[in-house]
Structures are given as structure tokens and as C-alpha cells.
């Protein structure tokens, strides 16, 4: 059926009908729907699920049952609309470049989603007899093989559930290895000032004291400072490589040698593995333990903040201390070593119930198979190429924090280019929202003033990179120009909401909806 356009104007009339100052009669904003909380949509006795009648009473639980449960329900169409409306208030990789440095926001292939939902993976109970889960165990075993081969490390613990959980696992392996060698008195962990916040937090979590290592003017670990701080009290160093300034640690092999000579272990934060996958094996650099964020390098979706997965690859010295469970092969096929005995006698313990983030393993393995050894190498090359391209295209209007030499997979700028403009890094970030992009990571790493850390990843086309660079160049010129700074100081103008009052949120925390929340307004 074609639409009858006879008599209907098919061209917009009048040039003056811009959106400036326009108000709809109801306060609505076209397709951007205002959406209340589910608690304000009524439905206290409503349900969107049809269930059979209950056939028995619960007299055996007399005195143990709750009086009532006051949570609202919605019918299926109402629920669908509620969540779809909310979804439209989110930025996403599938909408535009999402250049959060250190987060590796790359495309999430949908084949991976399809594979993870196959009944043989999704509808599988973690404690079924292993005779009925041979395919799942084979997948874990193959994933482990790929991770070990790509990193050049002999061991891997699959169970950690995110990067920070992997850090914890790695440090617990190190602690167990020191204790087994009578070196339990080593209680200090050296961490560069540029490190992710999770590194010092994890070290403190396992009871270690954190000492910072200085950084050189060119953004690397200061070897002399490292050497001075190493000693028989040091359990480990935690170094990110490529580091959080987006730079490869040129002296990495010497860092490892010094560390080992002092009897300490080298923990590498693998958050930035995407820059070197297929081109450099951390095992060749002298790394003893490194977590791999499957939700970064291996494309499993970030999902608005998880779930992630953080397997840890381990050197021969640390591998025996890996936590249970792990996959073993026996006479009857594959099995799981689930308790600290037999092959797993030295395991330091357990990171979580069951065997780790299987759903993420399936996705990551699908991603690995899709790329292959050749494609993964190309991933690193394109990720680094894209970042250097951004650095080159913006280097004359913004100030690269480390202008000399190439960067790796992320381009780091400081805020010297904003000196005297009255515009801050935060203002630039918020103005990017009006230009249709997610802001870069801002004010991190802490060692660079007003840091703007841009990680494009390899899944951006040249066209999208150019669009992004054009937008940032335009913003840079506007910031330095004599225009009204309202564009920046009051940005974003075009987002579903304007800048939010985070101080108010922290001073009087409202962390749950309550009937009086409504009454107070």
C-alpha cells in the first residue's frame, strides 16, 4: 500500500519553524519520552505474567511467611514501553563512537550473543554431572588455550568475574607463592601514580601496603625510583602496560628483571591488552600475572556496567596457586578440579561460587574464532593506528600530554590548550554530548592535568573518526574563540537532562523510591 499524498504538503513550510524556544502544549519533547519510575505507574496488584493456580497451601511454613510484598507490576505492553523509553535516554556504541579511554568500547558482535544463548550453554546448570557438560568444559579449555597462547603464559585462572576481581586473584596467587616460600613478610606493593584506582584498592584489599612509584617526564615508570623502592619487603609491583597514558613501557623488560632480582612478582594490569594482542606476548616481557578483561579486548558487551570477566594468566611460578576450579582431562573426558586437593592442592582458595562467567567465555571465544590469530593482530594494529590518527588530527588544536613519539591505543591530551579560555575539561566533555559523542575519559590518569584520554578502538571507520575529529576541532576553536561560553558552561543543551547536581545526591542520599519521596515534591 502506498501513502496517498494528494493534497498533503510534502515539503516543510516556512524557514522560521526552528526548535529554539519552542514549547509543546504538554511539556513533551517529541520522541524523547518522559518516563516515571515503575513505582509511580500504579500496578500494585498488577502482574504481567500469567501463572497457574497454586495447588497446595503453605501450612508447613506457618510462622515463617511474609505478610505481604509491596512492589508494583506492569502488564507486558506497559513494561516494554517503560524500558524502551528508558533505553532511549542512553548513549551506546551502536549509536556513535564511545571514546572512553581505558574502557575499550568496541563493537559487540551479535553472533556472540546468539552463541551465548544456545541452550547447550545458557540452559546449563553449573553443578550438572560433568559427563553432561563436556562441550562447556571443552570451550573453557580452548578459551584457556587461546589466552595462554596469546599471552605466552603457561597458566590461567578463568573464574574471576571482572578486571578488579582478576587483580584480586592475581595478588592472592602472589601472596600464596610468597607464603609457600617463607616470604610472607613481604607486605608492600609498588604501584605507579598513573595506575587505575583498582590497583591500589586491590592491594589494600588483600592487606598490602601501597607505595607509589614516580613517573618520568615522558610518562613512563621511573626506573631509578623503582630500583630505590624495591627490596625484600616488596611482594609485587603492579604496572599497566601499555600504561594509562597510552604509552608502551619501553623499559618493561628491565622493570621485570629488577623486580625479579628483588624477589618480587610482576603483576601487569591487562586492561590495555587490546593495543598489543597478537603482536606482543606479556610472557615475553617477564610478567608473572595479568588479568584480561574479556569485556574490553575480547568484545563482550559492557551492558551498562557489567557483567565483565577477568581471567588471569599466570607464570609457571604462580600457576600452582591458582584458585579452584579448573578444567582437567581425565580418562572419561574433561572434568573440573573443584576443591583444593590432588592437582589443586596448592590452590589459594576460591574466587566465587561455580566456575566463572561462562556466558562471557562463549562470547569471547566466538570473537577469537572470528578474528583468528591474523585478525587479532590486525585488531591491535588498527586500534593503535586509529588512536595515532586522532592524536595527529587534533595535535595542533589540543595539547597532547606526550607529543613525542607514537601513542598506543589511546591518545592522551592535557588541558594546557584551554588555558585562559575559562573552559574546563569537564565543559569540553559535556559539550561533546551536544555534538553527538560520548565524552572521553576525563581527569584520568591523575598524573596529567585536566586529562582527556581518548580510546577509539579498532572498530571505528575512518569516516566516523573524521566526524569525531571534526567535531572536536570545532569545539576547540570555539573554546579558544571569543564567543559566548554558554555553549560550554551550560552544556549539555541537547541531552535528555542538563548537568546533574552530584553534590546534592551525595549530601542527602536518596537511594530508593519511597512514597514520601513523591510527597516531598
Amino acid at each position: 500500500m502506498t501513502m496517498n499524498t494528494v493534497g498533503r504538503p510534502t515539503r516543510p513550510e516556512g524557514a522560521a519553524a526552528g526548535a529554539e524556544g519552542f514549547q509543546s502544549l504538554t511539556g513533551a519533547r517529541g520522541l524523547v519520552q518522559d518516563e516515571p519510575l515503575i513505582f509511580e505507574l500504579g500496578g500494585w496488584t498488577k502482574t504481567g505474567v500469567d501463572l497457574p493456580d497454586v495447588t497446595e497451601d503453605a501450612d508447613d511454613l506457618a510462622g515463617l511467611t511474609r505478610a505481604g510484598l509491596e512492589l508494583p507490576g506492569l502488564s507486558e505492553p506497559e513494561a516494554m514501553r517503560h524500558f524502551v523509553r528508558l533505553s532511549q535516554k542512553n548513549h551506546a556504541i551502536d549509536l556513535a563512537l564511545y571514546p572512553l579511554g581505558s574502557c575499550t568500547m568496541k563493537h559487540n558482535p551479535r553472533l556472540n550473543e546468539k552463541a551465548a544463548r544456545m541452550a547447550g550453554f545458557a540452559d546449563l546448570h553449573p553443578l550438572q554431572p560433568v559427563s553432561t557438560t563436556q562441550g562447556a568444559l571443552a570451550l573453557m579449555d580452548r578459551l584457556a588455550h587461546w589466552l595462554k597462547t596469546l599471552t605466552g603464559m603457561p597458566g590461567v585462572a578463568l573464574s574471576p568475574k571482572a578486571g578488579a576481581h582478576g587483580e584480586l586473584c592475581g595478588l592472592l596467587c602472589i601472596k600464596a607463592a610468597h607464603e609457600a616460600a617463607g616470604q610472607g613478610s613481604r607486605r608492600t606493593v609498588l604501584v605507579p601514580t598513573s595506575a587505575h584506582g583498582t590497583n591500589p584498592a586491590t592491594a589494600a584489599f588483600v592487606g598490602y601496603t601501597v607505595t607509589e612509584i614516580a613517573q618520568t617526564a615522558d610518562g613512563r615508570v621511573d626506573l631509578a625510583d623503582l630500583e630505590a623502592k624495591l627490596g625484600d619487603h616488596v611482594a609485587a609491583i603492579m604496572v599497566t602496560n601499555p600504561n594509562t597514558c597510552g604509552l608502551f613501557e619501553r623499559d618493561i623488560i628491565d622493570i621485570a628483571k629488577l623486580t625479579h632480582a628483588a624477589g618480587a612478582y610482576f603483576y601487569c594490569d591487562g586492561a590495555n591488552f587490546n593495543a598489543i594482542v597478537g603482536r606482543v606476548r606479556p610472557g615475553d616481557l617477564g610478567v608473572d600475572a595479568m588479568h584480561i578483561n574479556l569485556h574490553k579486548t575480547f568484545s563482550t558487551p559492557h551492558g551498562g556496567g557489567g557483567p565483565g570477566a577477568g581471567p588471569v594468566v599466570l607464570s609457571a611460578a604462580l600457576a600452582p596457586f591458582a584458585p579452584a576450579p579448573w578444567v582437567v582431562s581425565g580418562e572419561a573426558g574433561l572434568a573440573l578440579a573443584e576443591a583444593a586437593e590432588g592437582e589443586a592442592a596448592q590452590a589459594f582458595g576460591r574466587m566465587c561460587a561455580f566456575h566463572g562467567q561462562m556466558g562471557m567465555f562463549v562470547r569471547a571465544y566466538a570473537y577469537m574464532l572470528s578474528h583468528g590469530a591474523d585478525g587479532l593482530r590486525q585488531v591491535a594494529e588498527d586500534a593503535v593506528l586509529n588512536a595515532n590518527y586522532i592524536k595527529a588530527r587534533l595535535g595542533d588544536v589540543m595539547t597532547p600530554a606526550f607529543p613525542d613519539g607514537p601513542c598506543m591505543h589511546e591518545a592522551l591530551f592535557d588541558d594546557r590548550w584551554l588555558d585562559g579560555t575559562g573552559v574546563t575539561t569537564l565543559d569540553i566533555a559535556k559539550a561533546m554530548i551536544d555534538e553527538g559523542f560520548h565524552p572521553m575519559t576525563m581527569y584520568f590518569p591523575l598524573v596529567v592535568h585536566g586529562a582527556m584520554l581518548i580510546e577509539p578502538t579498532e572498530t571505528e571507520s575512518k569516516r566516523e573518526l573524521d566526524r569525531f575529529c571534526d567535531a572536536l576541532r570545532a569545539l576547540a576553536l570555539a573554546a579558544k574563540g571569543n564567543d559566548d561560553k554558554d555553549r560550554f558552561k551550560n552544556a549539555p543543551h541537547l541531552a535528555p537532562l542538563r548537568r546533574l547536581d552530584e553534590t546534592l545526591a551525595a549530601r542527602k542520599p536518596k537511594l530508593a523510591w519511597r512514597p514520601e519521596t513523591l510527597a516531598a515534591e
Binding site: 511454613l61 564511545y98 550453554f121 562441550g135 551498562g304 566456575h355 607514537p406 554530548i433 584520568f444
Partner: protein
């Protein structure tokens, strides 16, 4: 490569803009000894069809839970998840977004987290909940560490009814923090023994209800005993559907309630990803681990949501953070919230009643087959005594196409409970399934 947009021409042109002769020049900082000359020894790239074929082949080597009678529980439960849930969580805006650091363009995720926190607080009967943890077991260990921060004591008492994986996880983490863990022996009705283990050094007591053997307990007396000694009560729940029927942890005096939320909205996934629920009293909120979403207003006074109280967190506090957690379980929390919104309070109560009814039918059938039911009061899971070790029995029934629950020895091989079998029933369990299990048990 279908996921890599750059063409050879693009790459050449971009290298020109950069002023680099070739791609190797961009890797100049890598020590030459560490540069791999070519791809590592792994297969080359493959098309979507080939990859899907390989993965389907692996999936086919597994026996899906839905392929026949199925009775596994012990911390992970097979429930029906409405199709709407999986559709919504696959929307690009939820699936491919990051932690909501820029609240102006993440209100979708943030409002869902606020709704999630409110639902979790309501289900557990607590004041406030966080925006999720990795899973129930890690939530449990974080709760123990939180108790130490609250009352500065170094000992935790774990009930013998606590899921052994939860106990092992908590032991691992708490030991690393220098805490002493008193793990009471595994026993069917273990909660009675907990009170005697509380002393003036006890930071917290951890009890699970329904416990790992399925036993439902009113822990009010334990709460009173703990509080009398200045200790906190942490209540663990591994089957979130039970919140629809049983007294909530808050109602029984819990200071911290943690739970595995997988049962609501999330598939079994061979153990993960799942979603940890974590709730507490208002006065303890600043000692809570994990992300928190709070309500505020924007520059125009419009209501909105932000991540808040981040001065507890690692990216601000670094080594002084309450936890090292960064990524949590956002998408699983979204699935939980959608399913919970579809159910509503009335739906969840009905679902819980159905689960309980299925388990009563199961208990009668198993008793009829000559097995002793050990769980005196249960929700949807029971422990039974088998004639001889349970593990080989489960293997034999698996060969007959029946996944007959979890032998307790799989969870704890040293408890001396090799003849204890854990059997769960949910709304997905049919009367035919139960009859098939009973017949197979009788025939053994």
C-alpha cells in the same frame, strides 16, 4: 575481517596523516626482543557460519537442563524467564553502553538501577540496596568485610548451613584481609548451633535461609543474640524467588542481606554471569561496597539519577576504598528488574507459592520411593538421604536422561555427607518429571 572497518587505502592514508612510514613505526616503543614477527600459532579468522557451526557443535555436547527431568539447585535455579526480558536487554542502548559515568546520556541505565535498588530493598526488607555485585557468593564475602569496617572486629562466624562455595569464597577473601573465620560444620539444621559461637570479638554471623540443605529458618533469635554481643547479622539467600513467600531478612533483624539474584530474569549460564544483591540498613550505607545510584536534580530542576557516594569507591579513594569493585553486573540487574517488574509483588508471591507446591509434591514422591527426606521445613529444595553415595547415583540417573540434583559431596567432599542429595523443584518442574524421578529412584 567483518568487524574491522578500515580498508588498506584508509590505513595508508592515515599513516600519511600521522607521518609514519608503516604500522611497525607505531610499535617502535616495544623492545625488539618482544615483537612477534607474525601471527601466533592459532587458527586464522573464520566466517560467521563457520564460527557458529563450531560453537553449535560444542553446545550439542552438553545436555541442556530443559532436555528432560531436571532437579539441580544448590545456588542456581532454573526458572522461566519471559521473552520480553531477553528482548529488552539486547537493545543496543542497554547492551552496548558503559557504566553511567556521564549521567546526562545514561539516564536509562541509571533509572533502571534506581528501580533495581528499590526492588531489592523491598524484597529483602532492608532500607537501601546497591546497584549489584558480581554474584551472591562475592556479595557474601563483601558483606563480611563490611561488618569488619562497621564494628572493627576481626572474626566472622559462618553457619554450617551456608553454601560451601560461599563459605570458601568468603574464607579466601576474609583471610586475605586478616580476619578469622569460624566455619561451623555442615549440618542439615545448622542454624541452631550458631548462637553459641558468637562472642565479643565477633564482627558478624552469616546464616543462610533457605540454607544449602533447603531448610527455612526464622533467624530472629540469631539476630537478637548477635546484636546483644555487638555483632552484625548477615542473612544470605541463594534462591531469590523465596522472597515471594518467606519472611524477609529485614523483618528478622538482618543488618546486611545478600542474595543471588539469578533466579529472577537470568538463565543458568553454567554458573555465570549472575547478579549479587546487597542490601543494608540506612545507617550503614557509607560502609557499603559497590556502586550506588541516587536521585538528584539537573540544572533545570528536573529529577534525574547519578552514581553517588563515590567517595567510598576505588576510582576516588584508591587504597582507602571500601571495595575494589569497578564493573558490577549491570545487564543482569536490568534483567532482574524487568522480570521483577513483570511479576510485581503479587506475581512473585504467586510464583513462590507455585515453587513451594512443586517441592512438596517432589518431597512426597521421593519419600514414596523410599528415600528419607531430611529437610524439615523447605521452600523449593530438599535434602534427601540416598542408599549409598549420592554422586554415582546421580551419574546413573544422568545416563537415563534424568538430572537428579546435586550430591552434597560435590560442594564439600570432606563433610562426611556423601549420602546427601539436594533436589530442587521450580515452576518449570512438571508432575511427569517428578514421577519419572520417583520411578527411577525406586528402580535403583
Amino acid at each position: 575481517m567483518r568487524y574491522l572497518p578500515l580498508t588498506a587505502d584508509d590505513r595508508a592514508e592515515m599513516l600519511g596523516v600521522i607521518g609514519a612510514p608503516d604500522i611497525d613505526a607505531l610499535f617502535a616503543d616495544v623492545p625488539s626482543a618482544a615483537r612477534l614477527p607474525g601471527p601466533v600459532d592459532l587458527p586464522r579468522h573464520a566466517g560467521e557460519l563457520e564460527v557458529e557451526r563450531e560453537l553449535a557443535g560444542l553446545a550439542a555436547l552438553n545436555r541442556a537442563a530443559g532436555a528432560g527431568p531436571f532437579f539441580c539447585g544448590a545456588g542456581a535455579y532454573r526458572h522461566h524467564v519471559p521473552a520480553t526480558v531477553d528482548h529488552i536487554i539486547q537493545r543496543s542502548e542497554f547492551l552496548t553502553s558503559y557504566t553511567p559515568y556521564q549521567p546526562e546520556i545514561a539516564q536509562g541505565t541509571l533509572q533502571v538501577l534506581f528501580e533495581f535498588q528499590t526492588q531489592v530493598a523491598g524484597l529483602t526488607g532492608m532500607d537501601v540496596a546497591n546497584a549489584s555485585m558480581y554474584d551472591g557468593s562475592t556479595a557474601c564475602s563483601e558483606a563480611v568485610l563490611m561488618a569488619k569496617r562497621v564494628n572493627r572486629r576481626g572474626k566472622a562466624v559462618l553457619s554450617g548451613g551456608l553454601h560451601p562455595h560461599y563459605a570458601a569464597t568468603t574464607q579466601t577473601i576474609a583471610h586475605a584481609e586478616g580476619m578469622e573465620i569460624v566455619r561451623l560444620p555442615a549440618a542439615i539444621d545448622a542454624e541452631a548451633a550458631v548462637i553459641d559461637a558468637i562472642d565479643d570479638q565477633t564482627a558478624c554471623v552469616v546464616v543462610q535461609t533457605p540454607n544449602v540443605f533447603g531448610v527455612v529458618t526464622d533467624v530472629t533469635k540469631i539476630a537478637e543474640a548477635a546484636h546483644a554481643r555487638g555483632a552484625l547479622l548477615i542473612v544470605v539467600t541463594t534462591e531469590a524467588v523465596s522472597f515471594g513467600l518467606l519472611k524477609s531478612p529485614g523483618e528478622m533483624g538482618a543488618d546486611i542481606a545478600v542474595a543471588e539474584g539469578q533466579s529472577i530474569g537470568n538463565a543458568l549460564n553454567y554458573g555465570g554471569p549472575y547478579v549479587g544483591l546487597f542490601a543494608t540498613r540506612e545507617k550503614l550505607v557509607r560502609q557499603m561496597p559497590g556502586r550506588l545510584c541516587g536521585e538528584t536534580v539537573d540544572a533545570d530542576g528536573q529529577r534525574g539519577y547519578v552514581l553517588t557516594l563515590s567517595t567510598r569507591e576505588q576510582h576516588i579513594r584508591r587504597e582507602k576504598a571500601t571495595s575494589n569493585i569497578c564493573t558490577n553486573s549491570g545487564l543482569c540487574a536490568l534483567a532482574f528488574t524487568i522480570h521483577m517488574t513483570l511479576l510485581g509483588g503479587t506475581g512473585l508471591q504467586q510464583l513462590a507459592r507455585i515453587n513451594h507446591a512443586r517441592a512438596r509434591e517432589l518431597a512426597r514422591a521421593v519419600a514414596g520411593a523410599g528415600l528419607e527426606v531430611l529437610t524439615p521445613r523447605f521452600f523449593n529444595e530438599i535434602a534427601v538421604r540416598t542408599k549409598g553415595p549420592a554422586a554415582p547415583l546421580v551419574e546413573r540417573l544422568a545416563a537415563q536422561g534424568i538430572l537428579a540434583g546435586v550430591p552434597f559431596s560435590r560442594l564439600d567432599p570432606h563433610a562426611g555427607l556423601d549420602d546427601v542429595l539436594l533436589l530442587a523443584a521450580t515452576e518449570t518442574t512438571t508432575s511427569d518429571d517428578i514421577a519419572a524421578l520417583a520411578a527411577a529412584l525406586k528402580a535403583l
